[in-house]
Symmetry: C2
Subunit: 410 residues, 2 copies
């Protein structure tokens, strides 16, 4: 059977996505934080679906769910993640995992058994750390890192979460050298670019780098009524001044697609009648060009140096993570192009990914690429995140065709 005749079962795919949404339903979205009770339950359900699809399924010591095809022959690895941000959407991650499952079933049913492995990488959303699942699979995650990790929101140690999830002591699976032709991750776009151009498929050319920081400001906590303005060392006011300086300066040094965000800002102790003695923020920026990233970093350091010279508070910058931009593999992109042109002629484009994905780590050990489907209104990381059913089905069809195409190439 040629690649062009492969046909996925759209109703089966949608039914699986609907079922997965029931693990942690929040309004029309999902609240399924990594290693929570519903998250662990969903991993067991995913493993069961893999087994039903003829794969040998394992939940490993970091929570990765990996379904391996039996038998010899070239394999393609498909996957994404299945936990969600807090009170977020139903497709971010889940889509790519269920696509993998549906493509594995379809190819097995339609003449290409044993060709697709499927993975759900643990904690892509970073409740505990950056990409522990895919980093564990490529051999980059140390036990020491696991020992030190705590939940970003409530502080639970990762070791405790793994133990509560029944994962403590399980081996962590690593990539088998030479097994794979490549890795393809399907995902919702999470932006409005496809929708704005009436397109249905994005073939991802690169994943932008994310540079993440924790900014801490130390002032002096004092009474908000009795302390004159002139002698205050208000850490909150200092944070506002720094954020204002960044907002004024970054547009001058960034590139066209650069983005930057204060995702969190807290004043301590956070009471109405107390001048904040400390303030803390999560700040990040993203771009696909190393030179632009360097320029933004240098600018940030310069603004903090200026703030410290001006006083009266002390600002410190802590690097949380700095990834490098990752290019997609040309042969995988070409196969995705052909699949898109076959099933969505004229309705696709090549585009960068503004979000980080596990694919950037898989790319270190095998050819990797990504496929995007439209996000309605460009919304994600929110419970209203959605994609039209027809677009969901179309994206999976393109992925299946691309996989068959690659396998046909031997």
């Amino acid at each position: 059977m040629s690649a062009s005749n492969i046909s996925i079962n759209g109703q089966r795919l949608l039914a699986d996505l609907y079922r997965l949404r029931e693990f942690g339903t929040f309004k029309t979205g999902v609240h399924r934080p990594t290693y929570s009770e519903v998250d662990i339950a969903s991993r067991h359900w995913i493993a069961e679906q893999m087994r039903s699809a003829g794969l040998e399924a394992t939940i490993d010591g970091i929570g990765n769910v990996i379904g391996r095809a039996a038998g010899p022959g070239p394999k393609i690895l498909l996957g994404s993640h299945s936990e969600t941000q807090n009170e977020a959407g139903w497709l971010d991650g889940a889509l790519g995992v269920m696509y993998g499952l549906e493509v594995a079933r379809t190819l097995a049913e339609q003449g290409r058994p044993g060709a697709i492995d499927v993975a759900s990488w643990a904690d892509e959303e970073g409740h505990y750390m950056s990409f522990p699942g895919s980093r564990s699979f490529i051999g980059e995650l140390t036990e020491t890192e696991i020992d030190a990790s705590k939940n970003r929101y409530h502080g639970k140690p990762l070791r405790q979460a793994l133990a509560e999830g029944g994962l403590a002591g399980l081996p962590r699976l690593q990539v088998e050298p030479g097994r794979y032709r490549g890795y393809i991750e399907a995902h919702i776009e999470q932006g409005d670019d496809l929708e704005a151009h009436d397109l249905k498929i994005g073939v991802v050319t690169s994943i932008v780098a994310i540079w993440q920081y924790r900014i801490r400001i130390e002032g002096v906590q004092n009474h908000a009524g009795t302390t004159r303005m002139a002698i205050r060392k208000d850490a909150g006011a200092a944070m506002v001044r720094l954020a204002t300086a960044i907002e004024a300066t970054f547009p001058k040094v960034c590139a066209e697609r650069s983005v930057w965000t204060f995702g969190r800002m807290t004043l301590e102790p956070g009471a109405p009648s107390i001048i904040p003695g400390a303030a803390e923020a999560y700040f990040q920026f993203r771009d696909a060009e190393p030179a632009v990233l360097d320029r933004m970093h240098t600018t940030l350091e310069g603004l903090i140096a200026e703030a410290n010279a001006a006083g009266p508070c002390q600002v410190s910058l802590h690097i949380v993570g700095r990834s490098t931009p990752v290019k997609s593999d040309p042969a995988l992109m070409a196969a995705l192009d052909r699949g898109a042109e076959k099933h969505a002629p004229g309705l696709w484009q090549r585009m960068p990914s503004g979000a980080g994905h596990d694919a950037q780590y898989l790319a270190k050990v095998m050819p990797s690429a990504m496929l995007f489907v439209p996000s309605i209104g460009g919304i994600s990381h929110h419970w209203t995140e959605d994609t039209a059913d027809a677009d969901i089905v179309l994206g999976c069809q393109v992925l299946a065709a691309a996989c068959a195409d690659l396998l046909d190439q031997g």
Copy 2:
């Protein structure tokens, strides 16, 4: 015995303050939030000390601890509060309650029995609401308000806290008309004015008004990597812009002693890779002049209207509380002046209070005044808050002399 010969027992006073500090010791300060286990225990201990001093002590249905002197004759009410802000100082509130106790004992021992009532007003620090204790005593606190109140930090309903503290169903004591010559509240200054001028005693002329607000900004939550800067509706960025506008504009409309503070600022949901969909802040300002307060309020409304006109987020202003400035009673101030000049000649001044105090509510039903002692470094609402032992003792001596003086006037 004339007023000038009254002499308090400084060692006894300090010993009581040290003992009270043991309820919830935090570093060199105290963590004793209203209705917490240690707070309830401390109220029972205070009631015991009142009884040892010959007072009839009651813990009432809102948690006020009130010690009443037996017998006829004019009475003076002394007091303050005994709970603390979170992880805060050992003297804020405690000082005035222990002064009351020491003055009651001293006057009873030295020829003026039955003249001093002592009160510890519940929750002056506002863990649940604004001044419930003193407002209850003057008849301004309704059962409906109690029903609706929750803890500002962890959301526990006030009714539940009262029940857990064994206070549910107890009567709430109200002021007995005609009983008092007046109310005097001693307190640490909480600013650096006395210290900066090498003074030991402040006779408070007025309590500034506090106008408190909750500012809420609604934007659109989205992905921090895939959402272009141009189309963002970032509620956090909007909050920073508003705070910057306030910082630029308030100095032009305020008076010399005006202060304003963002005590809390939170971005929702508060994750590194999510553009904040909402932001919320506690904002307040203070001044002793109604015209200045009005001007600051109008300015705030104007800046918010400008922000809403400019977009892209929607800002709403919610009034949490607006008190009125309160003048101290001239006769009480005069007695405090004489006491200060007797025991700290040349080392005292009249001054306004930049902080709110229970005295502003007691002033609605009887002549009221306040006395300040120096705060080391002007620090309060922090565990390093402190006052020199000698200054603590001197302040109580001045208060005792002023009370004796007032009683001598009949």
